[in-house]
Symmetry: C2
């Protein structure tokens, strides 16, 4: 799959790009990268074996972590869309979001060794509150769903 | 603080003790340890600097991960209490729980470099469904609350 656009997290300003989950300036971290594709967001991640739950499956904390970072990135992207900010023409994303609440429902064990796909869809924007619905899948099977309430930071 | 009891996670059978969040057999992992204290559970954890969100605070994925592992451990402990299983007299905990759903509310940024305290309280047990309410605090300030729906595994 080609991503012509830059990842949302690569548009975070350098001084705010240290997140273990998705910061480009955190060499130890997951460096999750969320892309806006039409009116959805997408990210891919293949967990290292050490992030095991019981042997053969990915531990819940990583699933939650990926959904959290994908969620805040998605929320920022959707807020930009809503304000007609074209992310192809910015070096730094002008909107940044933090998580107020994250809910993860674990449907089936997330298999180890597979490329995971995260998707995000905007549910609503009300003032500074942005709700995003997410799925985390492996080989087309939804392993977990996520719901994030993200808050748009003031400048 | 003295913990006379063994940690709940140290009572998991060896073949199920590889969780990155809390398995004693995962040398790369967090090895979170949950203790039953009366009718509450408690755990402590000091995050490594690399688990940063923005500089100075702990990233949300780790907060969620700690609450998840503390939650399933707490659920197993509370289920044992309810069935009059004395955890001081077992080598292996006879009840094991998995997460069906986890909700985390982020109240204030979790400060980096502090010892975090997690607490758990049983809300309800209905059949195989166990609900546990949690807090994650730093220096007495609740940074996040968690709510877990854990499911008791069948033998």
């Amino acid at each position: 799959m080609h991503h012509k656009r830059k990842a949302i997290q690569d548009l975070y300003p350098d001084e705010l790009a240290h997140c273990y989950g998705c910061g480009k300036n955190n060499p130890d971290g997951h460096q999750l990268k969320t892309y806006l594709m039409g009116d959805e967001t997408i990210a891919h991640f293949t967990p290292d074996e050490k992030f095991t739950a019981i042997p053969g499956s990915v531990y819940g904390g990583l699933v939650a972590s990926l959904l959290d970072c994908h969620g805040t990135g998605s929320a920022a992207a959707f807020a930009c869309l809503a304000e007609n900010i074209d992310l192809e023409n910015v070096a730094i994303i002008p909107i940044r979001c933090v998580t107020a609440s994250l809910k993860v429902d674990f449907k089936v064990p997330t298999p180890m060794g597979k490329k995971l796909e995260l998707k995000g869809k905007l549910r609503s924007i009300e003032g500074r509150k942005i709700l995003v619905d997410m799925t985390l899948s492996a080989e087309g099977i939804v392993c977990a769903t996520g719901e994030i309430l993200a808050i748009k930071l003031k400048d």
